[in-house]
Symmetry: D3
C-alpha cells in the first residue's frame, strides 16, 4: 500500500478533478492518490517569477505530506520547480517531477527524444534541467507549439493537430525516437499522437506518477531513496526551529 | 499479471537458483519469474570476447521469450551485452539490463554516482555504455575491487570489507551521492554496505528487475516501449526467413 | 551616476554594515550604494530550502529597487539564488550575483579556476550553476573548507590558514590558475591569500559589485542589458495584476 | 612485407572479387592481400541483430588470421562491428574498421566531417561509435541516402547523383570540410564525388585498408599496436581452453 | 586614470581615426586612449596566414605599451589573434580581444548568443576560440554575411539589411537571445540592428574596450589580472636577452 | 617516391643531425628526408611568445618546401605551432605535427592516453590543442616531468627514470592505456619506457613522421589532403602579391 500526493502548484483547482480522475484510472491497486493545488497564486507557471512565488507553499505541502504519511509526492509542472529543494527538505519521502521522470523513461526507450513545449520561452530553463539531470545528450530537439497553457484545451482538435505536426518534424527532421509532451496540461492527447506518429509519446502526468509508484516501491522495499549526502542534505531541525522556519 | 525472464548469459546455471530465490522475494505479487542460463559458453563475461560469443544465443532466448508470452527480459550482466541488439529484434517486449537501469535510478537519487566494479579492465566498456545512455556526466568515478567475478562469494566478509572501502572512497573523495554495485554477482551485499555508508547502494539484480516490472506496466497500460523507429527498427521477417536467420 | 543595491538575502543585518563599508571603499566615484537584508528568514543559505524561502522577498526587493530608480542589484550569496528569476521580473535593471560574475572574470584571467567553498554540500548546486553559465570546462576543482558560514570569522587566522591550504592544493594539484572564494562571507581575506598563492584570488563581494558597475555602464550607454527574449521574458503586467501578484 | 586480411562479414561472397581487385590496385608493393567473407549469414548488416549473429565467426576468422601470420585484418563494414572485441582477442595483430579509420583521417583533413549513410536507422549506432572513438565533436552531420545497401550499385548514376546532393548539403549547410562515404558498398564513387564537391571524399574501403598498412608498419617497426592493458586485455588461454572457447 | 591602447593589427591606418573618434565618445572620463595600426602587412586578417604574419609586431607593440605605462591593450580583431601569447609576454598589463569580451558579456545577458561573421571561412577558428574560452555551450549559431571585411562599409544600407536578416534568423530559428557582431569592422551598426531585433546586439569594438576599462580597474584596485601561473607564465628575461628576443 | 621535410622550428641546429639520423632509420625506402632548423630565434619553444616569433619563418619554409616539390612537412614541436596556418597557406602539400599525429594514433590503440610533458606550463595550450583536434575525451591525464627541454638529455638515465615514474602513475592511477611522450626532444627513450610499462609509448618524432608518410601516400594516390574549404581556404595570391606578402 502506498500513498501518493499529486500537487498542482498553481493557484487554481481547475485541473484537480480531471487529474485525480485520470490518476485513479492508471494507479496500481494498492496506491492511494490525492490531488491538491494551492490556495492562491498564479494560475499557470510559464514564468520563472511565478515559479519562485509558489515554491515556498509547495515545499510546505510536501513537508506536511511526509508528516501525513505520504510515500511520495509529484510536483505537477514540467519545469520541475522546487524538485531539488523538496528532496532536501523531506526525510525520505520520494519526490518526483515530470521532466526528470519523462526524460529517464524516454532515454530508455530510444536514442534521442524531443520535447513538445508550449512556448519558446520555456526552452532555456528546460534545457538547463535536462543538463542537470545528465540527459542533455539525449535531447534531439525542443518543439514549440506557440500556445499558452490555458489554450491547450480550448480547441482540442486544433491542439492535437499542432502537436502532431511538431511530433512529425521531431521524428523526421531531428531523428527523435521518442516524443515527450512537455507540459502536464497536454494531458489526454498522448494516445492519439502516439497512434499517429508510431513512436512512444510520453504523457507528463502519467509518466511521473508511475515513476513515483516505482520509486516508492524501491524506497519501501530496499531503502533506496534520495541520497541525503551532499546535495540533498537536510537543514538541522534545531536551526529551523530557532529561526522559525519549521 | 506480467511474466519476466531473467537471463544469466553464461554457460553455467550456478547462479540460477540463488537469483531465482532472490527475485521471488522482491517481485510484485502479479509477476511471474523465470531464470535461465546458457547451455554452454564462458562461465563469466569479464572479456568482450566472451560477451560476443554468447550474444547470439542470448538473442535467441529473448526472441523465444517474446513468442512464449513474456512481457520482459533482463540481460543479467552489468556489461548490458546485447541490450540494443535485443531491443531491435523484439517486437514490443521490454528488454533491460543492469547498468542502464541502475544508472537511471541512481541519477534520480543523487547528483553523481560511483560504480564499484570487479576489475579495472571493465571500466572502458562500462564508461562507453554510460555515455551511450546519456548518463556520462552523472558518473563520479569507477572503483575497482581487483577481484574476479567468481571470487566475490568465496570469502563474503572480505568482499564486503573491500566494497565498503571502495564505497567510502567514492563518497568521501569523489563526492558520490549514490553507489552502484557494478556486477550482478555482487548480489546479497547491498544492505550491509548501505547501512554502513548511509547513501543508497544499488544492487545490480534488484534494480533492473524492478525497472523491468515498471517498464512492463508502462508497456501494457500505455503502449510505451522501445521505439521501433531508427535505432531499434527490426529487420524484415521475410528477409530473415530468406536468409535462414529466423 | 549609478545607483546599486546590494542585497544580503538573509534574515539578519549582521553583515550589512561591514559590507556597506567595504563597498564604499571600492565603488566608483559616481556610484551610490545601498545594502539591505531581509526582515526575517534564515541567517545563512547553506540549504536549498533556505534559498527557496527567501527568494520571493528577494524578488520583491529587486522589483521595488527598479521602481526606486536603481540601475543594478546584486544578490549577495554565492549560490546566485533567484538570479534568472530576477532578470525575468525586472524591466531593464541589471541584476548580478557572485558565482556568475566571479566565473566570467576568472575565466578571463586564467585557463582554469578553482572555487573554495564552505562545505561539500554546496558543490552540486554550484557545479550546476557554472554549467548553466557555460563555464563548466573552466572549473579545475571545488575545494571545501568544511566550515559553516558563521564560523568563517570566528577565528580569522584559522580560516585564512585553511583557505591557503585549499588554494595551494588547487593551484599545485588541480592546476588552477585562479582561485575564487566561493562564499560572500569569506570577505576580507582575498589579499592575504593572493599574496601567498601568487595567482588572482577573486573575492565574492568585490567581483559581482564591480561587474554590476560595469554592466550598468553598458546598459546606460549602449542599451545592453539582460535580453527579454525567451528565457528572461517578463510576465504580462495585466496578468500579474489580475492574479494579485504585482 | 606485410599480410593483410580484408573481411566482408556477411554471408555472401558477392563483393569479394571486386574488393580484392580494388585493393590490389591501391596496396603498397610489399603488401599481400586476401579477401574473405562468411560461409553463411545475413547478406548485409543494416541491423544490429545481423551484426550480433556474424561477430563470433568474424572473431574466429580474425583469431585464425593471426595464427596464419597475418599482420592486420580489416572488418569490412562501416558499423565497425566487433572491432573492440577483436582487439581484445588478438595478441598483437592490427585490427581496424572503416568508421574509426575514416574518422581519424578526416579529422586530420578538416575541421568537421559529414558522413553519408544508406539509411537513417544507421545513425544512432554510428553516432555512438564516433563518440567512443573520441571524435564526436568533429562530426558535422549524418546525411542519409534512404537507400538499401544492395541498391547502391543497381543504378550507379542515380546513386552518385544522390550522394552528390547529400555531400553538397553537408558542405554548404552543415559546413563539413570533408565527406565520408559511410558504407563500404559505396565503393567506386569517391573520385567523381570528390571532383564535384571539391573537398576530400573518403572511401570506406580504401581508408581502413591504408590505415591498416600504416598501423602494421608501426607495429612491426616500433612495437606500437593495440594496448593490452585494461580495455583490450585478452582472456587467459587456460580459461578459454577449459571452457572450450579456444 | 588609466591608459588604454587599441591596436588595429593590420597594415593600414584606414580605420584608426574612425575608431579613435568612436572610442573617445564611449570611454570613461579618466581613460586615455590611443589607437595604432601596423607599419606594414595585410590590410585585413581573414586568413590565418595573415594573422601569423602580424602577431610578432603586434606582440612588440603590446610589450612596448606596457613599458610606456599603458594599463591595457585591445587586440582589435574578432579572431583574438595573439591574445594568449600577449598575456604571457606582459607582466601585469591587461590584454583583451573582441571575441572573448563579447562572449562573456553576451553570456551574462542571455541563454545563448549568435555571432554574425563576414564569411563562412571564419567559423572554424572562431568556434575553437569560444571553446577555449569555455563558452562553447552558449553559442546558438554562427551566421555568415558572405561579405569581405572591406565591403562592409561600401554600401552601409545593404550591410545593415543583411545583418538584420541574419540576426532575425539567429533569434527566431536558433533561439539566440543576444547577437554579437563578429567583426570589428561591423562598427557603427549595432544600434540600428538592436532597435530592429529587440535583443542586445554587441559591438565588437565597444565591448572589448569597455571590458578593458573594467579589467584595468580590477587590476589597479585589487591586483586581479592575468594569472602568471602555468598558461601565461612569462619567459625568463635573461633567456630572452641571451637569445636576442627582448 | 615522396619527399618530406622535418622542421625544427627553433634557432639552433643542435638537434638536426640526430633527428636526421633517426629519421633515416625509420623512413620507408621510397622516402627522401631533409631536416632544417631556423637561422635565428629561440632555442626552445616552451613559451607561447617564442612560438609566435618563429611561426612566420616556419610558414615561409613550408611554403618554399611546397614550391621545391616536397610532398609533406612536419612541424617538429609538440605544441603543433602554426599547424592550421600552414594547412591554409599550402596548396596541397601535407603538413603534420606531433600532438595531432600522436593523438590519432594513440586513440586507435587504446581507450585513453596520457601525455608526459616537460613542465606544467605546457598543459593549458596542449589541452586546448587536443580539444581542437576532437580528442579531448581520449586524454586520461597530463603528467609533468618538471624538467626543461634542454635538460632532457643531460642525464638520460635520470630522465628515463622520471618518465617511467610518470608513465606508471598514468597507467595505474589514471587508467591510461597508451602513453605519449609529449615533447620531440624526449627522443630516444620510447623503447625502454615501453618495455618497462607494457603499453604503447608513442614517440613524438617517429609518430608524426610516419603519419606524414601515410598522409602523403593518401594525397598522391587518392587526392585526399587538407580540405581547402572554410578553415584552410588559402588567401588569394593576387592579394598577397599586392600586399607584398608572397
Amino acid at each position: 500500500m502506498s500513498k501518493i500526493l499529486w500537487i498542482n502548484p498553481i493557484g487554481t483547482d481547475a485541473f484537480d478533478k480531471v487529474i485525480k480522475d485520470g490518476l485513479m484510472q492508471i494507479k496500481q491497486d494498492g496506491t492511494e492518490v490525492e490531488v491538491v493545488s494551492l490556495k492562491k497564486g498564479p494560475k499557470h507557471l510559464e514564468y520563472r517569477y511565478y515559479e519562485a512565488l509558489v515554491i515556498p507553499e509547495l515545499l510546505q505541502i510536501i513537508r506536511q505530506a511526509e508528516k501525513d504519511g505520504y510515500d511520495g509526492a509529484v510536483i505537477g509542472c514540467f519545469y520541475d520547480l522546487g524538485l531539488h529543494d523538496a528532496r532536501e527538505i523531506v526525510e525520505n519521502m520520494v519526490v518526483t517531477a515530470p521532466a526528470e521522470a519523462c526524460g529517464h523513461i524516454a532515454a530508455t526507450m530510444g536514442y534521442k527524444f524531443s520535447v513538445v513545449v508550449t512556448e519558446d520561452l520555456c526552452i532555456p530553463q528546460m534545457a538547463d534541467n535536462f543538463t542537470s539531470y545528465g540527459l542533455k545528450d539525449k535531447v534531439a530537439s525542443f518543439k514549440s507549439l506557440k500556445m499558452g497553457v490555458h489554450d491547450l484545451h480550448k480547441d482540442e482538435r486544433l491542439t492535437i493537430q499542432k502537436i502532431k505536426e511538431k511530433a512529425k518534424e521531431a521524428v523526421e527532421n531531428d531523428l527523435a525516437e521518442v516524443v515527450i509532451l512537455g507540459c502536464t496540461i497536454q494531458f489526454g492527447f498522448y494516445k492519439e499522437i502516439q497512434d499517429f506518429i508510431k513512436v512512444p509519446v510520453i504523457d507528463a502526468i502519467i509518466a511521473p506518477f508511475k515513476y513515483t509508484e516505482f520509486l516508492v516501491e524501491l524506497k519501501n522495499r530496499f531503502g533506496w531513496t534520495h541520497s541525503k549526502k551532499y546535495g540533498f542534505q537536510s537543514p538541522p531541525i534545531s536551526e529551523m526551529i530557532e529561526w522559525g522556519l519549521d
